[in-house]
């Protein structure tokens, strides 16, 4: 039995006060907080074995190399990749997706081809494809969702055509937290001979990922949304695809032989990791994976489901709150988009901040989607396993005061 109080204690920041109130952190879809074990792992790296990996013969460099490569191994097991050669460290999900855009799609797309993406995509899984399509004169095919944010199988079948070469889809949407039917998408895309790129930034923190079961051709996620530091992301790619791709960045550490006129490149995965990497973040990611595996996805999913159900129920009881997106807990993670009637989300966020509550407001880097739903912006709360029902109660009390602060009813 996992003790929630002990879990909360693992996160020192949750103890701080904001504007004189206890911090309630509900912006986990933007970035999660870090447990002490991750903070200590980074600190130990600098205290004990900081060196440039893959370079020197000295002990520190060997230890740094070991820590770096062991993490690669750990990540491969964590998402069930066939080999650690399929794991490339990047800066974040955005860089991972750009790597695929430049090193794969750029070389394999003609003006007759199409790229299929979903209207709900985060800008990071939209702009790279849109810009490649513009350069190549190719077409972007959008899969549209209903007003709840749900993507239907019919729509998938309509938009993945014989011309589709690449399909890009978020595993979980960052706006409404909807779990997309990625397995259907992969099977339909593969039937048509298209490859599938899955943006796992919002899924990997919350559910067990098995890239083999998903049969994804590429899968990307960020460390900082799952307890690890900012500055490390992961690109998984099928080995046979990665092998034939050109490097993304050129420089040190990614070469085999360099002469005046030519260079041969290092083998996988090193050909995609040019220059000195963010070892402290990789070390932090290793510790973050340990933490997640220690408490287990079963616990994470159970906690988030309880919190989401509770929050939805409480928010539903407030007449002046409009909730967006499907409320079906079966295909949703702990993300809720909403607005307080007559109040701009930016003002709601400012008011909640005065009560120590951190939420996100705005278009959530998904402008085409917001436009599709005729929304300008929304408030978004997003949970992680360390959040509590007591925090939701504090949040609900504050939400009830928002309209008062804006001059509606009594102040």
């Amino acid at each position: 039995m996992i003790n929630k109080e002990e879990i909360v204690k693992d996160f020192p920041i949750l103890d701080r006060k904001v504007n004189g109130k206890k911090l309630v952190y509900f912006d986990n879809a933007a970035t999660t907080q870090k447990p002490l074990s991750v903070i200590n792992a980074i600190s130990d790296y600098y205290k004990i074995y900081n060196a440039n990996p893959h370079r020197g013969a000295h002990t520190l460099s060997v230890e740094a190399t070991e820590a770096y490569e062991q993490t690669r191994n750990k990540v491969a097991k964590f998402i069930n990749a066939r080999s650690e050669q399929e794991i490339i460290f990047t800066k974040n999900t955005t860089e991972a997706l750009n790597l695929v855009a430049y090193s794969y799609v750029n070389n394999n797309l003609t003006s007759d081809d199409e790229i299929t993406i979903c209207i709900t995509e985060h800008h990071s899984n939209l702009i790279p494809w849109q810009q490649i399509a513009i350069r190549k004169g190719a077409k972007i095919n959008y899969m549209y969702v209903d007003s709840d944010g749900i993507l239907s199988v019919d729509e998938i079948k309509n938009k993945i055509t014989d011309k589709t070469k690449v399909v890009c889809i978020a595993h979980v949407t960052n706006t409404f937290g909807i779990v997309n039917p990625v397995e259907e998408i992969v099977s339909i895309a593969h039937e048509k001979g298209a490859i599938v790129v899955i943006d796992g930034a919002q899924s990997t923190p919350h559910m067990k990922i098995d890239v083999q079961k998903l049969d994804a051709d590429f899968f990307a996620f960020s460390g900082h949304k799952m307890l690890a530091p900012m500055g490390v992301g992961v690109l998984y790619g099928k080995k046979e695809l990665l092998k034939n791709m050109t490097p993304f960045l050129y420089g040190g550490d990614m070469i085999e032989y360099v002469s005046e006129q030519t260079t041969t490149f290092a083998e996988l995965p090193f050909k995609f990791e040019a220059g000195t990497q963010n070892v402290e973040a990789v070390v932090g990611l290793s510790s973050a994976i340990d933490y997640i595996e220690k408490i287990g996805y079963e616990y994470i999913e159970e906690q988030e489901r309880e919190l989401t159900e509770y929050a939805l129920e409480k928010l539903n009881q407030i007449d002046d709150v409009i909730i967006y997106g499907s409320k079906n807990i079966e295909n949703k993670v702990g993300v809720i988009s909403f607005n307080v009637k007559d109040v701009h989300p930016h003002d709601t966020a400012t008011i909640l901040d005065r009560y120590g509550i951190a939420i996100r407001s705005g278009h959530h880097c998904a402008q085409p989607f917001m436009k599709h739903l005729d929304l300008n912006s929304t408030c978004r709360i997003s949970f992680y396993f360390y959040n509590t029902k007591e925090e939701i109660d504090i949040f609900i009390d504050a939400i009830k005061k928002v309209r008062g602060h804006m001059g509606y009813g009594t102040k």
């Binding site: 109040v343 930016h346 003002d347 400012t350 901040d353 407001s361 705005g362 602060h405 804006m406 102040k411």
Partner: protein, 141 residues
């Protein structure tokens, strides 16, 4: 900064259904201002009579701060010359940066003094200055 000092009656009044929020037919200048980070959008429309700002209004959407600031600015500069309006923009921006704190000097800004302490809420400064920057852009073209 307390919420009551931010969402003052003046700001709330101007942010809700302002009489300055409308479309002007045959405007001489139409200028869109936008805060990409928070999504505030304001379109200023200005009609001149020679050098005088004869009529000015705005349309758009955004938070109470951005909308109120636009409405208050319009009250301030309607009927003034371009030069007077631009001077007022400079004065407002200096007040926001706390470069001018003398109340006598700031008196010219009328209701816009309500934004004097917005820099205590750094996340909202962009909202407060949006309309003023947009006006400056539009007239310096």
């Amino acid at each position: 900064m307390e919420l009551n000092d931010l969402y003052t009656d003046i700001i709330l009044e101007h942010s809700q259904n302002s009489y300055n929020k409308k479309v002007i037919e045959n405007a001489d200048i139409t200028e869109l201002g936008h805060n990409p980070s928070c999504g505030d959008e304001i379109t200023l429309q200005i009609k001149f009579d020679g050098d005088i700002i004869k009529n000015i209004a705005y349309t758009g959407h955004g938070c109470a701060i951005s909308q109120a600031s636009a409405s208050i600015m319009i009250d301030n500069i309607k009927g003034k010359t371009k030069k007077e309006a631009l001077d007022e923009v400079e004065l407002f921006l200096k007040m926001i940066k706390k470069e001018i704190t003398d109340d006598n000097e700031l008196e010219k800004l009328n209701d816009a003094i309500a934004f004097k302490n917005i820099s205590n809420m750094p996340a909202r400064v962009k909202c407060a200055v949006l309309a003023w920057h947009t006006l400056k852009e539009s007239m310096e073209k």
